[in-house]
Amino acid sequence: MRRKCRIWWPEQLSSTQPSSDNLLFGWFVSCLSDSLDIVVAFASNLDSSSNLQSGLQEILHSINGNMHVSLQDKSKFCLLGQSRGSLSNGQVFCNGMQEDDLRKSSDGLTGCCRQWSYGCLKLDGLLEQCRQMSTGRDYWLELTYDSHDLHAREIRWIPKVHHIHWNSVLVSRCDVHVIVYETPKYGAHHFSLRFWNSSEHGKTSIKKPKWVDELHEKKPLNDLDTVILAINSATAAKKIFERHDGFRRSRVNIPIIWMFCAFMCHLLAMSMASLSTVFYIFLQFSHSFLNLGSQSWVYSASAKAFSNTWINIRIRCCQILYWPIFLQDNDLRSQSSVECAEKVALHKHSMWSSLLVDILLGDLIGLTLLFHMESVCSWVSNFASDFTNELLRSGCVWLMGVPAGFKLNIELAGILGMISLNTIQIWSTLWIFVGSLLIYFIKGLAILAILFGVTVPAALVIDMIAIATLHLSTLHWLISILYSLQLHALAALWRLFRGRKWNPLRQRLDSFDYTVKQHVVGSLLFTPLLLLLPTTSLFYIFFTIMNTAVSLSSMFIEVIISVIHATPYIKIILRLIKPRRFPSGIWFEIIGCQNNSSDSPCSAFIDKNSSPSDGMPQQEDESILISVLHSNYMNIGEAPCSQKSFISLDILD
């Protein structure tokens, strides 16, 4: 079987003419025995890096140590091989050597290097390293360049594999797929295999057609996760390499302005941290002071009554105390993979953006409330008195008469109605005293909104609504207890008439002989319960409607609070400004393929009949497929793409 290899090639290496030999650094990722993924991170010129040959091992080790953990497990950052600038027809650079000699020699790495070093002085130092590194590695890559004019994408030079040392086998004829990618940079773009908001072990909840599941059962031909992770970490690797490189050469003068800015940022962070610490100490003191009375029922009752407010205040305090961590601005550089760095940054930004929006809204609403305090106060008291008089009291009186044409039992309706009216009367008498404090309450709400954002006073409003309608919820609770008792009794008595009894152990009805006395008492009680049922049910329906209306309004405010908390503001804004930062999947654009038999670029379909039937290896057609790696960008409301993409290598056959 022909071996297959894919070379993931950074774009900037293709746009300029390669002038001299370059060392290639990157990762080898191999999944199957006959296919190999070569991720090229960057290339370093042999001239300029001559004095780092001595410390190359340490540099590679330090770069590897900075990589993502899963990348370290799958593949080590290493020296991939070298690329030689060559003539356009791809001739071998070595003098006096026959190509078949090279192919036939299989004595390993050192032999090859010896061949190559014929007349090449530059490679002396490399020889040492090759020997040092040949013990622990399986692959070595030799590339040449080939021109390929695709002006639309500024790709001028395509690497061409000269040969690969593949587990101590020299392979010079293999199917090559060159994939050109634009190196991901933080803040610009990156690649991702998953949908933009799925977790690491994301699973989609949409229903997939059957062929997708069958496709998933096939063994994947390549380890795309590692490859994409390696691509995303290429920039970080290059930075660390250059840092070591620059460290060796000379110290570059960091501009003074940068140092001054860094110093000011640190100062700001420290001041914010101390302010927040003071704030935090104050909060803890008040909390422990409140805890002193925590045994009393007053504290527990008020804690339960104001639960919404308490939760929102806690959220707000946690968010405020998070500020210093944000301003510290560490960890950003140390995330090697651009994908991980973007995720972490988005997480941080979303925290402070929701806080900011909340406080802005709170300021708006608070200022409005402060300016229109009297009208708001009068509107609230008018609404409360309207609700009590028009709805509750009139409703009760209506029920005591002939509501909706139902003829109720006068006595029972009278009793229930009088109880409700008395309760409402007592409650409204109590709240007359509170009504004078309403203006201060609204002022307090406005100040809370200005200081803490809109969610905290909204939660306080919810709790105050619940407290103010306590009489309604109590009445509803009482009438529902009465109604359910009546229904249960009726059901039990009906079972008595049928001579049956409920068996709770077996959850079924058993036949049972009641005594005569039980029958008599049962029938004496059944008739009034049955005939009083319409009255009770009508009162129950009325109070349920009232209570549900109040609950719905509270729920509406809660939904608003949740929406303010949960909307991803920063993601929406970034999506509108820079959509490239939200990739969701990759796709390959095939821009050409080449056969060695005919030098002109042909169409993407390779004639299958051209596969060799004889056993002469040097007459096989070598095929190179060139494609460009693109990213799918997420649309809002789009269905997620499939998580695994299967590159079928059959097209290279």
Partner: protein
Amino acid sequence: MDTSISGDSSPTRPKWRKVAYGGMQPGFDDNHTDETFLEDMVMNANVVKRNLLKVMQDSVSISQYLCIVALVVLVWTYTLRSTLNENSLLLLDVSLLGLGFLTLLLTEEMLSLDLLLHYVLNVSFFTTGLFVLAPIYQTLTQSISSDSIWAVTISLLLLHLFLHDYSGSTIRAPGALKNPNLTSCISLNASIVASVFIASRLPSRVHVFAIMLFSLQVFLFAPLVTYCIRKYSFRLHLLFSFGLMAATLALVYSLHLLLFVLLVGMLVFVNVLCPYWLIRIQEYKFEINGPWDEAKLCFDITD
């Protein structure tokens, strides 16, 4: 087939035995029967031989109960028309109670003090309960029209008469043999609910209490009293029944002619026609019993 061949069969063929085991017997069919077939059959073993007089005497208890129910309806009607006021009703209740106790004392052989106490306790329990429930019953059906009330009451009374246990009484002395079965309990319930409906039509609390007490007394205790009378002496029973029927007929005649005619027709139907009909169709009764019947387990073992 086999037997028609000849009398002397081959000496090796065994005799056919009527057993349930052993499988097929050689030489005989699966459905072979011999001359002892059906000799154990008993015909009309449990059929009671009746004669007309006896049946007519027994049907007197049904018509007696019918008259009792008719009297109750009569009292209801007079109360609803305000012919009877509450005081006379209360008097009626108390007298009925006294009469019933007297009858029980006189006719019950094994009457003991704690049995009497038990009865007194139950009666006082019911009286107190009714007194408490009377205000609730008074306004229970004010929103329902009168026609619906009459219709419901009559249908419940019919149900009560249909399901009533005429042979014994639902309420028995403690220590009685049989428990009341479900249909007699349902009939009792129906009668109580009917009386509640009627009681809810009355104007005042005392009315309601009195009529409920009356109805409950009659429906609960009248079968017991008549059962005791019947057990004591049959002649007394017959005398009592005829007297009751005469009184009922007289009272219904003074109320309404149509109802009188209806009642007379019912009594004649129950007392004369039904026994004659029963005797007539008794001839056609044909029961077969034999050793093939399922075994009936006997639960009525008293120690």
